[in-house]
């Protein structure tokens, strides 16, 4: 490469730091098979066109309720489940295109921590082996070097080194989660998918584990994709947050903006539904009607239109030609035509902060 080209590249890098991980139009569909011949009759569109960036050393929170696809995003991204479409770029390289040795090397850098501290640790392996195995498999350390590394990893996550000869069942949920974290950082990754890492833990243990993850991020410049349903935890822990509903991102903004000024009606309801630890409530609760639809049979147009308070209010205040009748869950009401028919695109609503929402009518 010529010096001019290198200089340009350096300049470009200093102007805009490219994101560490870029996800573009990720799709993961699961076939629905019926009948004796197991013919595919449809698809569960668990992830239906999701795009986001994760900056180095920063945390992107991914929130949503059951069936929104957030866990599938985390697993498809790391190729633990095969994606149906889309692209994942790691430091500009196409992660889905690699195989063999190259893939293995990339995988060292992209790790995962699971929700279930019971199911994610092999009950027949000692703690020392669980943490040490990745080091051996990737040829990074053997023998006494490996043992030393395991000891230092255990200490780093706040566990006594003598625990390495014990088995997972001898530990509490919080301790097992720390073992999972030690395993995830063993290969010095710079990106970790945290799939509901504290949801199964008590509140007082939760904060210990979150502080540990935060410290590790600062020390080792690790980026996190933080998947969770506890909105207060996500707000605290993430720099940026994306909200998912039925396979799609409906809103994306930096953490402060999302919680202070939510634009998508679903986000507004979600935030309002979180019980406030204050016996004299400061906010009016918005209780959504109806259930979350099944991802195998999502509503047309905007997936949220059958439950959306905004479209109902607008339909009531506009003339009948602009709205249409909907009947669901024993209720009949009117929604705006566009909401029923047209899929809203995730677009920027606030240029200076990059706050995006997928809603025809939010501003």
């Amino acid at each position: 490469m010529s010096t001019a080209a290198t200089a340009t590249q350096e300049l470009n890098r200093s102007i805009t730091t490219a994101p560490l991980v870029q996800v573009r139009d990720l799709k993961t569909y699961f076939p629905i098979k019926k009948g004796l011949l197991a013919r595919t009759v449809g698809f569960v569109k668990a992830v239906d066109g999701v795009s986001f960036d994760v900056q180095a050393g920063k945390t992107l929170g991914l929130v949503g309720e059951s069936g929104c696809g957030k866990t599938t995003v985390g697993r498809s991204l790391l190729r633990l489940i095969p994606a149906t479409g889309g692209q994942v770029l790691y430091r500009g390289e196409d992660f889905f295109a690699h195989s063999g040795e190259r893939l293995r090397r990339l995988r060292q850098k992209m790790q995962i921590i699971f929700q279930d501290p019971v199911g994610s640790l092999n009950p027949r392996m000692t703690v020392g082996n669980i943490i040490g195995e990745p080091l051996e498999v990737h040829g990074l350390a053997k023998g006494s070097d490996k043992r030393d590394l395991v000891v230092s990893l255990l200490q780093r996550v706040g566990l006594d080194p003598s625990y390495q000869s014990r088995y997972p069942h001898e530990f509490s949920g919080g301790q097992r989660q720390r073992i999972g974290i030690a395993r995830a950082i063993a290969l010095s990754p710079d990106f970790i998918v945290c799939d509901e890492p504290v949801s199964a833990l008590d509140v007082s243990i939760q904060s210990q584990v979150l502080n540990l993850l935060n410290d590790l991020q600062q020390e080792r410049n690790i980026a996190y994709l933080f998947i969770a349903h506890n909105l207060a935890v996500v707000e605290h822990f993430s720099h940026e947050v994306a909200v998912m509903y039925l396979g799609r991102i409906v809103e994306k903004a930096n953490s402060v903006d999302l919680y202070r000024d939510p634009k998508h009606p679903y986000t507004v309801s979600l935030l309002s539904a979180v019980p406030e630890p204050n016996p004299r409530p400061t906010k009016k609760r918005i209780v959504l009607k109806g259930e979350i639809p099944s991802p195998s049979n999502p509503p047309t147009g905007c997936h949220f239109h059958p439950r959306c308070p905004l479209t109902r209010t607008l339909a009531a205040n506009h003339n009948a030609a602009e709205s249409t009748e909907v009947k669901t869950s024993g209720e009949t009401f009117r929604v705006m035509n566009r909401c029923k028919v047209e899929l809203p695109v995730l677009e920027v609503k606030s240029a200076e902060s990059g706050h995006c929402a997928a809603c025809h009518f939010a501003d």
Binding site: E65, S66, S172, G173, G174, Q175, D202, V203, S204, I205, Q206, S207, Q208, L210, N211, N214, H229, L231, A232, V233, E235, H236, F237, S255, V256, Y259, R260, S269, L270, L271, S272, A273, V274, P275, E276, P277, N278, P279, R280, P281, K284, R285, I286, V287, L288, K289, E291, I292, P309, R312, S329, G330, E331
Partner: protein, 350 residues
């Protein structure tokens, strides 16, 4: 307008379990009261004894290996611990009903929803089959299920988590109980569904004047639903107060630690506060105050390591079990009871 006498009074109850390593005592000398129409929240983390306490009210603890070591559970003046099993069966489902965290494991998968509700109805009420069907239809309608008559023939696995929880509530309420025990009723549900279910419970309570024992670990749920709160830690009730007093002035160091370590929506924290250490398992409780190894208010005081404090009324209407709580030394040891009921939460349905 609560009556003077409590509906349910738990007095000095201790429950033990025989294990291969000796007896463990997960509920130790526990006392609290619930008045008619009141919501009492029993809050604490895993292993504190709240679920065992709740199950003990309905005598659902298997004996053996469980044992009621001491105390009384007085429901409308009658000690439930002294009733025979057949007398107890008349109480369960009729006067006191219970709903659980996992509706899928509590509902029978091979019976329809209608069959399960009607079974509860016909067990306690002398009605014909067609009358029972109508009661079941009404019960489903009361819990907000659309098209209730058609839903009678549906199986539990065909419904979502929120719907199943509504069925459980319908079953529990079919015989108009005076007290509903709800053991983590919304923990397994999504937050928007949780809001619906809690709103439903509040509405039904108001309509029927029903009391509720709400077991949860979520302080947000407590703040929005409870009239009176009991905080449990390692087999004891460590604090008891009305919900405003508890949130305004948490007195026990464990309660204070819980509040501090909770991330709150709308507040950006640099670093979360924690309670160091872990909850001790029953059978491995420390001597003296069970919280002392984790307590930052100890000030190196020997009394905390030697003597287990008891629940005392340290301020009017506010009980705490901590040697260092202001007023503890001169306070009386009494069974906690508060008739407080709050004004209802305003809700906007969207």
């Amino acid at each position: 307008m609560a009556d003077r006498a409590p509906l349910l009074e738990v007095k000095n109850v201790s429950i033990g379990f025989d294990t291969s390593r000796g007896m463990i005592v997960p509920v130790n000398n526990v006392s609290w009261s619930i008045y008619p129409g009141q919501t009492f929240a029993l809050v604490g983390e895993s292993g504190c004894g709240k679920s065992v306490s709740a199950l003990s009210v309905l005598r659902l603890i298997p004996t053996p290996p469980g044992r009621y070591l001491q105390g009384e559970i007085n429901f409308e003046g009658r000690n439930l611990l002294k009733l025979s099993e057949s007398e107890m069966r008349k109480v369960r489902g009729k006067d006191i009903a219970m709903i659980f965290q996992e509706p899928m494991t509590s509902l029978n998968p091979v019976y329809t929803v209608g069959d399960q509700i009607m079974e509860a109805v016909r067990l306690h009420q002398n009605v014909s089959r067609s009358q029972a069907i109508q009661i079941a239809v009404d019960a489903l309608g009361d819990v907000g299920i659309a098209d209730p008559r058609a839903r009678l023939s549906v199986y539990p696995h065909q419904m979502s988590g929120g719907m199943r929880q509504r069925i459980m509530i319908a079953m529990a309420l079919a015989c108009q109980p005076k007290l509903l025990i709800a053991d983590e009723p919304t923990t397994a549900l999504d937050v928007t569904v949780q809001a619906q279910i809690l709103e439903l419970l509040r509405k039904l309570q108001k309509e029927r004047g029903m009391a509720m024992l709400l077991i949860t670990h979520d302080l947000g749920v407590v703040a929005e639903n409870a009239d009176v709160v009991g905080v449990m830690y390692a087999s004891h009730v460590v604090e008891y107060a009305d919900v405003n007093a508890l949130f305004d002035n948490p007195t026990h160091p464990y309660t204070q630690g819980l509040f501090r370590s909770m991330p709150k929506l709308g507040v950006k924290h640099e670093r979360l506060e924690t309670i160091p250490g872990m909850v001790p398992a029953p059978g491995r409780f420390p001597s003296g105050c069970k919280f002392h190894p984790r307590c930052s208010s100890m000030n190196g005081d020997a009394v905390c390591t030697k003597t287990d404090p008891n629940l005392r009324e340290v301020a009017p209407g506010h009980w705490a079990s901590c040697h260092h709580a202001p007023g503890y030394e001169i306070a009386a040891i009494t069974t906690p009871h508060l008739t407080y009921k709050r004004t209802p939460l305003e809700v906007m349905s969207g």
